[in-house]
């Protein structure tokens, strides 16, 4: 037997591409968010509410990741912001190479805030750096307070937790404080917001925070 020593990260190729995306975003002074959640947590509605709130304060562009269809891209395009759709055809997560190809179709000089909406999945996207400044994990109240404990990798790698659908709290058996406690046991640095995107509740607080990040040049 002869041994060939390798010592290389399995995802090195993706990480290298993510680093080159990050350099491109920094050169253009972009703040880039990677929004992740399980399907149906309210990512697209939150994005619509965010665009509505911020469209006069920042130039926004969107990269939409979906397994099939461009339904979400159509929804977002109605707000008059540039949208690029990535259809993964069954792929369970976005990768840096897909994002690199997508942003080639955007004029990044004309963008301050780039929002990448990942495929709805709390597991796989956790492992793939896209070159973003931060992962924003959206968890809806209907999913239950145990989700941060069940999907720790995602909550550990996120910088922001948005607890969405708080307007449904009277109807669901969940305690927001327990969600926060569980999430902070995984990642005490998480910045937490509470929203009801459909009812446009809590959006101002979240957007003001984003504007402060933009002003701080957090690219």
């Amino acid at each position: 037997m002869s041994v060939v020593t390798i010592e290389r990260k399995v995802l090195q190729k993706n990480d290298d591409l993510a680093a080159s995306n990050r350099e491109l975003f920094a050169r253009n002074g972009l703040l880039v968010l990677n929004i992740v959640s399980s399907p149906g947590a309210g990512k697209t509605t939150l994005l619509e509410a965010t665009i509505e709130e911020l469209k006069d304060r920042a130039r926004i562009a969107v990269v939409e990741g979906d397994v099939q269809t461009d339904i979400d891209a159509q929804r977002v395009a109605r707000y008059g912001v540039p949208v690029v759709q990535i259809v993964t055809n069954g792929g369970c997560h976005l990768e840096a190479a897909l994002v690199a190809a997508a942003v080639e179709r955007l004029d990044l000089d004309q963008v301050d805030l780039l929002v990448i909406e990942n495929v709805g999945n709390l597991v796989c996207p956790a492992n793939f750096d896209l070159g973003e400044a931060m992962k924003v994990v959206v968890l809806s109240t209907t999913e239950g307070a145990d989700k941060p404990l069940k999907y720790p990798a995602m909550f550990r790698r996120a910088a922001v937790l948005i607890i969405n659908k708080v307007d449904l709290l009277p109807y669901v058996n969940v305690d927001v404080e327990e969600i926060k406690r569980n999430a902070q046991h995984i990642n005490p640095k998480l910045v937490v917001f509470e929203t009801a995107a459909t009812a446009r509740l809590g959006i101002t607080e979240w957007c003001d925070w984003l504007v402060a990040r933009l002003a701080a040049g957090h690219a």
Partner: protein
Amino acid sequence: MHELTMAAGILDIVQQNVAAADAGRVRAVRVRVGDMAGVVPDSLEFCFEAIVADTPYAAAFLEIDRVPALATCGECGCFTRLAQPLFVCPACGAMGMALQSGDELQVVDLELDDTVEGAA
């Protein structure tokens, strides 16, 4: 099933480190998988088997070295193995222990079978 992407990544790395003529001689590929890496070792093995099946690397299998999640408490200095992904210090209750190991996902090395002829 992101393990399929990772298995493809492993095969890619193997191909970069082995001459094409020696593909059939690759016996074992050793990978390091941390307990907190967000990867299911059984899935990774299954995907790797599937992905090499119809390639010259069909004889290769994965050897997975598990790496325990070890963390240090910033408050009291306690160094411990985390059995669960809860970053709470078992000694003082402080949150936000710093992971020292357990995030790894690396190809370590591979073994070539010297008894198998390379297709020169």
